[in-house]
Amino acid sequence: MTRAALVRFEWAAARRGRIVPLFAAGFALAAVGVALAGLSAGGVVTVQGFARTSVSLLQLTLWTVPMLGLLLGAVQGAECQELEFLAALPAPRARLVFGRWAAWTLALTTALLVGFGAAGVVIGALAGAADVLRYLGLIGIATLLLAAGLALGLWIGVAARSRARAVGVAVAVWFVLVIGADLVAIALLAVLPAHDATWSLTALLVANPVDGARALGLGLFGADVVAGPTGAALRRLLGGQGALLLTASLVAWIVVPLRLAGRRFARQDL
């Protein structure tokens, strides 16, 4: 009862702000822009189909969605320190964290669906509905990545306790996930023998939600051979089971940070 009430309470706050319409418009503009930009280089402006648009959007998604999730999560987590009145209500403190995560995941998923959905209508009308399921797959991957970023950001925010510190740590974590992990992968490839590198790179893929989402996304288009060193290692080690492992790892990237954030918030002084 309290869990549902807390989610409703946080959802009401999340949807009332400007963030949802702002990001919905941003996602829509990005998707339509990518669909138009790909074929305009030859001098003729036309609309790409869902498959090409999705592949082009994937990289944009991998950069912006984790940043969005981490930053918003960090701010929301740091704000939990200020909820003294709510923390004194007869509800487990961890539920305050869960309620925030659920409400913001819902709000940003709505923005994602509205934005990419509006762009999808334009693409479908002008370029046909072929490969629309892959486009939906991309939205699914973006949603998982968003939920994981929010969970991780909340944990950072709850642990950091101040908004400025939380945002700083979130940016550093984003840099490590988006760029640092790939640098580590390249270094591993250079120094390890082939067999050891396969295991290490697969572990790195599972240990990094951004790389996991990238490999999963490229797998949607049978393009995981170009998923970089970690994607190639995963393909060699697990074959077709890789997608399941990657999806499970993304779910774990939601559940584990969320539980850690809840536990930390329950134990700390406000």
């Binding site: 923390a87 007869p90 487990p92």
Partner: protein, 259 residues
């Protein structure tokens, strides 16, 4: 002890922040229907005491109980019987009053409209769609006070409840404390408004540097502080008692129940 024999109980409660002792072992009880005020200078440990009882911070040692329930071991049961008004707002400013009322009602297992009804009773029925940011400081305080006392609250804890309130708002707070006392709730509040304290409190605990240096009724404290009771005083007795106690006048701590 049954769950209801003592409203609020602190036994040897201490709190350290890092290496600094913010609260020396403190023992204090508030009976059902009794109002006790915590007074003292800033940093004396008043808010720390109240926040431990509310479960917002954790005691380093000792036991704090609300309606007989240990706030550390049985936090949900303790908080079910507790109304807490923090010194800081404690809720995001963007919160819509009606949403907050529904949440508090749900958390206390009450019908969804119980919070709205409590706000209507407090004269705030027309502000359900407003955000806290759209209200004055006094109105926010009245909203939180109405919701803090929602349901079968057996212990009410208020941290500087009259702060930022105008005369009417301060009277609302006083009336809420009186109403809680009439309902049989134990009330513990911290305040710098000594006249409020003298009017409302059955007993006053004076805190300095994390310790209760004296506790009793106003005449008991006056006796302990060596301040004479003068009928036509130039300043209220409580003001003189406070100054004497806080500035380190020779003290005899009045024990509970002592004349």
């Amino acid at each position: 002890m049954t769950a209801h024999s003592v409203g609020i109980e602190l036994v040897g409660v201490a709190k350290n922040f890092g290496g600094r002792a913010a609260l020396a072992p403190l023992t204090l009880t508030v009976a059902p229907g009794e109002v006790v005020a915590l007074v003292g200078p800033n940093g004396a440990g008043k808010s720390t005491t109240l926040r431990i009882l509310a479960g917002v911070i954790h005691a380093s040692a000792g036991a704090a109980r609300v309606a007989g329930w240990d706030v550390a071991a049985e936090p949900l049961r303790a908080r079910l019987h507790l109304g807490y008004l923090p010194q800081r707002l404690g809720v995001p400013l963007a919160t819509v009053v009606g949403d907050l009322a529904r949440l508090v009602a749900a958390a206390r297992g009450l019908p969804a409209d119980a919070g709205a009804q409590a706000l209507a009773d407090a004269g705030l029925g027309d502000r359900l769609d407003a955000t806290l940011a759209q209200m004055s400081g006094g109105q926010r305080q009245r909203v939180l006070l109405a919701l803090a006392t929602l349901g079968p609250v057996q212990a009410l804890i208020l941290d500087e409840p009259s702060i930022s309130l105008d005369t009417a708002g301060a009277e609302d707070v006083r009336e809420a404390i009186r109403a809680a006392r009439r309902r049989g709730a134990a009330v513990l509040f911290a305040s710098h408004h000594l006249n409020d304290v003298a009017q409302l409190a059955d007993r006053i605990a004076v805190m300095v540097d994390g310790r209760v240096v004296a506790c009793g009724t106003v005449p008991e404290l006056a006796h302990a502080a060596g301040v004479a009771w003068i009928e036509r005083a130039t300043e209220p007795l409580i003001e003189r008692v406070y100054r004497a106690l806080v500035r380190g006048a020779p003290l005899r701590v009045v024990r509970e129940g002592a004349a």
